[in-house]
Symmetry: D2
């Protein structure tokens, strides 16, 4: 199978498009019905291309651009929380990691990037309509990243998905965590860690209790609040009057 | 050269020791004068060893344990900020990254873990007494991680450290950022990003201005506040009455 | 002079109107051209009245309703910051307090409510178009509150406004605080306190320096962040995805 | 009855003592066995007095000083939350307010200050040992404030404390809010408001449900986070590395 080629195009106003480069006339969401193969054939990174009425710049297909131009359906885990998962779980090159549910795949993009070509990413998702979007985003990443991990995708609920591997890290973003925690905990390597992403505080508490029941040791629970700052016209900086950057509560537990 | 072996030992109360395994009687900080080679020869992961009056458990030498047992001199960048650097800069396997100043090496440990065996980590540090500590922590990590990047260390100030490589990402944690920003900006790959770690808001503002002068585009500036939550004896969760988890302001800029 | 009567009317969707009750046909913003005297003559608190196509409920004219239905021009100080000013400055019944600049009068409404009939509120505002709005809001409050303080309004800059009174508390919300701090500090009673409201951190720093130059002792500086929580449809509570409730930095200094 | 006189004395290091001025030798906590009547007879505000080995300055007995020098037993509601109660409930001169439980009386001091001589403060406290401390603090305040409200104290649980008055505002800081909410809601004036102080999020949720069951309309629920900022030795300001200023969740509901 020939892997598709993807290009990242930037509008002047900052909007990012990730488009398949294919030599036929086809519909590309947000850009119209065009032949991207013909249009982009001679466009190098840094050069502009006219599509419809807009000039777009072709830019390098790095992770932040793929995130900015992601296909989206479900709400996705933000960079701040993805970063905390990576550093507090100690995820890196060559690890085997479980990401459930996949959703739109935002977290999996971050994980794939740091797992690299020697890693193994296992994703689980019960809802087909979400899996479709998440897998598309991962397909793009596998074509753009310098290295991409082995990827196993399982349809269904985590507690039913049998997979005989040992995980270095497990991340659960689910409506109900308990059954998944009970099913997953034994698949963690010694010293491996499991994290939960819980929108409400009662979910956080339930995760905590389930982890202890499953024999895991809760290391830390809490939240990261992100606040943007901006410059003012007269000099000086101040918090931007934007949204409070909370998304969910995080819990980290370890298998001793 | 034979690479030293390191073991991670956990006290009951949670304190982590990272000790060199060497077959001679020597002083090990916090453990006394012992022969770790003899003591740990037959101790597997998960088993206990008696050292002095204390039983310690040998545990896997994962990143979080190396961070918990780090040699420390300078204050180090926390997991939340290290995570944001990794995800917002899009750092992953095989990248070339500059970390200045090295300090105690906390951030470099996180970077080395995600760069993996194909990456290149460049560290710079003007103060010898800090470099010594940071390099010791990196030496431990290189012995414990499944893969470790090529590592180049430069003594001195960033602006004087000449290195003819192209960086995917640059992270600056310095008392004065401007000279380093001016010197580094041209060494970023197209689409590469530079981040600053600024304890005060006036440093943040100066970084912002310097990045724009250096032709970089500021993407985001702000802070991550970490708040721990705990369970109460009567059920329910509440914020822990601990420190406000702020450490510094972060700024991200891109080379277009 | 006969004091005007004001009524507070509540729309179903929560919008609050504060209208003058006057027996003539006149334009009332948001309600149209109506005779409020005739319409509201027999409408008791808790009863509905039909105005245009809308049924509105007449509700008691308490402080929160007057704030919700305020005439607005300048951005106003929020309840969280007004509350901190009152409690940290120890403002209460019978005090003499300076509020500069008046702006739309949001803070002055809060101050007038706690000063009561024996207090003295001094307001200063250099911009006529703001003063007009702020004074209208205070006029409404004086008609609705059970007691209202003596009120002295001065046009112009604080540093030029000569008033020979001793203040229990002074609150400065100004583009440039220093001249006002230097001019006001000597008018504080022994043990009295001055507070500044500073949108940027450099303004906060300048206030700090000016207070010390003026011989005041800075007691506390910082910020209050307000975060709303809501219930979810499946039970449990979580932070509402609304704005980060920051407005400005606060500084409190004392005359010893 | 002759009301006792109280003096406020400030140590160099900032510690505040509130002492009864009485012409007999008696033990004063933190100061030793002394005759405060004799010692303070000729000491004016602003003058120093030698007590034991320490020079102390007599300062005006304002609210912030009484709070700083409070007798303490139970943890008390902080200035930020007391301020929010006052402004969001619209409490001011002449109101009738219920504060339950009294605890050490920190909130009641703030309430008494803004209610003034025409107000009515009702406090309830089931634990005698707390009531003793809270009532002592209120006794001091009644001697020091320019005006003090009528004060009714009831021993026992709110739901059992029968009092035939109509409240402008009710504030509940209790281990279990529901019975109190059900008992109190009908005693609110039309348009009056009730607030709850809830340390955990499950208590917050229970308050919310109970208020709705009691026919009140929840206006706002959330938290105030206080963060102190400080100056650095090299210039610039940054968040102080102190505790995250959270104490509890607040809920405000209205009787329509």
């Amino acid at each position: 199978m020939v892997m598709a080629e993807w290009a990242v195009l930037l509008e002047n106003e900052g909007r990012v498009h990730v488009v398949e480069v294919i030599d036929e006339v086809a519909k590309h969401k947000g850009l119209g019905v065009i032949n991207t193969g013909a249009l982009l054939k001679d466009i190098e990174i840094g050069e502009e291309v006219l599509i419809g009425q807009k000039y777009l710049t072709r830019i390098p297909p790095r992770l932040p651009e793929l995130i900015a131009g992601m296909a989206r359906r479900a709400q996705t885990i933000s960079a701040k929380d993805a970063g905390a998962f990576i550093t507090r779980l100690g995820i890196g090159e060559g690890d085997t990691v479980l990401d459930a549910g996949l959703g739109s795949g935002g977290l999996s993009l971050h994980l794939a990037r740091v797992l690299g070509a020697n890693g193994h990413l296992v994703t689980v998702e019960p809802r087909e309509e979400h899996a479709k979007v998440g897998l598309l985003n991962l397909e793009r990443a596998s074509a753009c990243f310098p290295g991409f991990p082995e990827h196993t995708h399982l349809s269904g609920m985590v507690e039913n998905a049998v997979l005989d591997v040992e995980f270095d890290a497990i991340i659960l973003d689910l409506p109900e965590h308990k059954p998944a925690i009970m099913a997953c905990a034994t698949k963690l390597a010694t010293g491996g860690r499991l994290a939960c992403y819980a929108p409400t505080t009662s979910q956080l508490e339930n995760c905590w209790i389930a982890c202890e029941e499953a024999g895991l040791e809760v290391e830390w629970a809490g939240e990261l609040m992100e606040r943007e700052w901006g410059r003012t016209s007269k000099g000086g900086v101040r918090p931007v009057n934007g949204p409070f950057g909370h998304t969910a509560f995080l819990l980290f537990a370890k298998r001793c």
